[in-house]
Symmetry: C2
């Protein structure tokens, strides 16, 4: 966990310029909670694999709706280490949910146009992932009944 | 999640030859359950950050003891996507615990000698991470009382 700053450099190849630009825009968008910019980063049928369920959800609107609520619950969200491959990136983050601190990762894949096609999220400790899922589920249910 | 095979190539710089050799040896060792070879890959004070607890455990023997039990519980363990950075690697895996399938990641850091100094593991779904932690805890407790 040492030398976190040096890990923020992106290793990439020339063929991944679109993905590199997109991952930087993803980080900016999420960090600034700039939800209006998020749709243009996502493939229409983006898969979202959340920390609490096995099966993926699909679709841009679904993902954005959930992320907005997750970031209402998260406090002190910070991106940490950054890893890359030929097909995508892993971004580690830390955050707080209520009194509990967590670490998590976004595993992000892009298509050739730099659109995000797949987002898998994992969080530790697992108990905090479940606390988060419960709170997000409550808020989503409440927002649906008041619409 | 498409094109998993192409993600197995390692992106690295010349300064990371030791780490690259070590991550390949880590994959081989874990995949083959070659526990006798594992000590030489680890720093004596390696930090282990498991999926269920926030705090790290430290020490080579502690990590190996836990991993041996985890891999008694895991079935169908397979490494999937592979990501790299200047300071380490992320290896995604899938496995089964009882009737439940899971995805996980190893976030692995190396020192300049190619020894693993930090292993963080996250697993989704979170409920399966807790099932795993409970089962591993039981087995560790049972092995300590029979020693």
């Amino acid at each position: 966990m040492n030398d976190i700053n040096s890990s923020n450099r992106i290793q990439t190849t020339q063929s991944h310029t679109a993905a590199e630009a997109a991952i930087n825009e993803w980080r900016r968008t999420i960090t600034k909670l700039d939800w209006n910019k998020l749709p243009e980063l996502l493939d229409d049928n983006v898969a979202y694999r959340n920390p609490a369920s096995f099966d993926a959800l699909h679709g841009k609107d679904t993902l954005i709706t959930i992320l907005r609520v997750v970031f209402e619950v998260f406090e002190n969200f910070t991106y940490l280490r950054h890893f890359s491959s030929d097909i995508g990136y892993v971004l580690e983050f830390s955050a707080r949910v209520g009194d509990e601190n967590l670490f998590g990762v976004d595993l992000i894949e892009f298509d050739e146009n730099g659109k995000i096609t797949d987002l898998m999220v994992m969080i530790r400790p697992a108990s905090v992932a479940l606390t988060l899922a419960t709170e997000v589920g409550k808020r989503l249910a409440a927002s649906q009944t008041t619409e």
